[in-house]
């Protein structure tokens, strides 16, 4: 039953995608749209297979930056949320800062980081991805830590549990669904931030830089092939984190 349901929920978006691509191809061919406006899907697919190994190499560079940013941002977000939950003052002090981080486009800081860490280092991109991930991670974890039921709080007090024990045995396990949801949201942000940060300079071997240089060299179909690579990279990050979430929630036996 579950297999059939999964197949059906997968089928609808796939079918929609196939129809959309077919329509796109049809329109481009029928109206002879210029490649610098929109290349046809078949041309993009051709360019994608042609420079496949280069796209994979570039995706590895961008993907590694995104992954490092994701891990750093996630860990910082969780740890800061634990302290903010324990100390009310701290969460109050952090609230405006987090709000600012949420509305400022962090990638705009890329030139500053390149100046700080040197144009040859990936550090700035990783930090940008980490900051972007930190925000949903912090907010989701803090929200999760605050979902404790009063009866569980009483129980921990009756056991004279230490703050560390209450965090480890009650608050954090209770926050797991929220943390994993934050991680899922953060995973896409990490890829997007790492990619866009490349537009502002730094080492030139990532996907973002490949898109801008192909476009600058009027190789529009090539640029779209790299965009396709970026989409697949984002989908990979999202798919893996969503998979982890689904697996963990099934394993913990509902809630």
């Amino acid at each position: 039953m579950r297999g059939a349901t999964t197949a059906r929920t997968m089928l609808a978006p796939v079918a929609l995608g196939v129809v959309a691509i077919a329509l796109w191809q049809l329109l481009v061919v029928a109206f002879e749209v210029k490649p610098f406006l929109v290349p046809s899907p078949s041309d993009i697919a051709g360019a994608f297979t042609e420079s496949f190994s280069h796209i994979v190499d570039a995706a590895k560079v961008t993907g590694l930056n995104a992954l490092i940013g994701l891990v750093m941002g996630a860990l910082t977000g969780i740890i800061v949320a634990i302290f903010a939950n324990a100390l009310r003052v701290m969460s109050q002090m952090l609230a405006p800062l987090v709000a600012a981080l949420a509305v400022i486009p962090i990638v705009a800081l890329a030139p500053v980081f390149y100046a700080m860490f040197g144009a040859a280092a990936h550090t700035g991109r990783q930090i940008i991805a980490a900051i972007a991930v930190f925000v949903p991670m912090y907010l989701n974890t803090l929200n999760g830590l605050r979902q404790v039921e009063p009866v569980h709080r009483d129980l921990m007090r009756s056991y004279a549990a230490t703050a560390e024990q209450a965090n480890r045995l009650l608050l954090l396990p209770g926050a797991v669904p929220y943390v994993l949801n934050g991680l899922k949201i953060g995973s896409s942000l990490a890829v997007i931030s790492a990619l866009i940060a490349e537009y502002f300079g730094g080492p030139a071997n990532g996907l973002g830089k490949a898109i801008t240089s192909a476009a600058a060299g009027s190789n529009y179909t090539g640029a779209w092939a790299y965009v396709l690579g970026a989409v697949l990279l984002g989908a990979l990050f999202y798919g893996v984190t969503a998979g982890i979430e689904a697996w963990a929630l099934r394993r913990r036996g509902g809630s």
Partner: protein, 268 residues
């Protein structure tokens, strides 16, 4: 009675809650009660008369406004830190991500009992509540009655000398409820623990208790204490004339205590 013989001594306790709007709720007024070691005492009374509040004060989950409570001759805070009591709430309050076994072992784990000893104890308790086959299930796979049994096993995990139970059977159907009452009687006989048991059911209070404490609201206070000295508590007692006398005595104490008749008390 010497001080060390008493499990709980409550003397002249007042509890006033301050609400956020600046109002005051006088939840308990001049409540005094002594529970002997190994004694089973039920608290009964209409909704809002302060039964849960009194239990929370003994458990040191809330502080008194006036008066004093000691548990085994110690302050409530010290007794809580020494793990002198086990507690079961109206909601089972199991941790949903832990298995039945891990839930029962939670207090042992917190107090540093090693894995093998934990497993031995949880095996014993699982057998006691008849849920051996559900050790590795998660709470969402259990019925309400089963969850409540797990919560009771958890409250007994550390063999406390005092059990605090706030309507632990409130959510159960009559059949399961009587079954659980029989189990509780057996468990108490085995462990010799003193019990403070909150309930809304008169027959339940009479069946289980050595003494039934009748309370009335606004402000919450003790209006009557009824002694019951049954020689044994088994299925036959439920049909016994002495049992019905006890029920009648508690019921009339409840009616006498409140001018406009008790509310929230099941006369079943």
């Amino acid at each position: 009675m010497s001080a060390t013989r008493a499990a709980v001594t409550i003397s002249g306790v007042d509890k006033v809650f301050r609400t956020r709007k600046g109002g005051e709720v006088h939840a308990l007024s001049d409540v005094s009660l002594e529970v002997a070691a190994g004694e089973f005492v039920s608290l009964i009374g209409p909704s809002g008369c302060g039964k849960s509040t009194l239990m929370r004060l003994v458990a040191d989950l809330d502080g008194v406004t006036g008066g004093e409570i000691s548990v085994f001759g110690k302050s409530v805070e010290q007794a809580r830190k020494d793990q002198d009591y086990g507690i079961a709430f109206q909601q089972a309050g199991l941790l949903p991500w832990r298995t039945v076994r891990a839930n029962i072992e939670l207090p042992l784990e917190i107090h540093g009992v090693e894995a093998r000893a934990r497993k031995e104890r949880s095996d014993e308790l699982l057998a006691l509540i008849g849920l051996e086959d559900f050790a590795d299930h998660h709470p969402d796979q259990l019925s309400g009655g089963m969850k409540q049994r797990v919560a009771i096993a958890r409250s007994m995990a550390e063999r406390p000398r005092l059990l605090l139970m706030d309507e632990p059977f409130g959510a159960l159907d009559e059949m399961t409820r009587e079954h659980m009452q029989n189990e509780l009687v057996a468990l108490c006989q085995e462990t010799g623990a003193a019990v403070i048991f909150v309930t809304h059911s008169i027959p339940e209070a009479v069946f289980l208790s050595d003494r039934v404490v009748v309370m009335s609201p606004r402000p919450g206070r003790i209006t009557d204490i009824i002694d019951l000295s049954f020689s044994s508590r088994d299925e036959e007692l439920r049909e016994d004339a002495a049992f019905y006398e006890g029920v009648t005595a508690v019921r009339s104490a409840l009616h006498g205590g409140v001018a406009d008749g008790p509310r929230g008390v099941e006369n079943r």
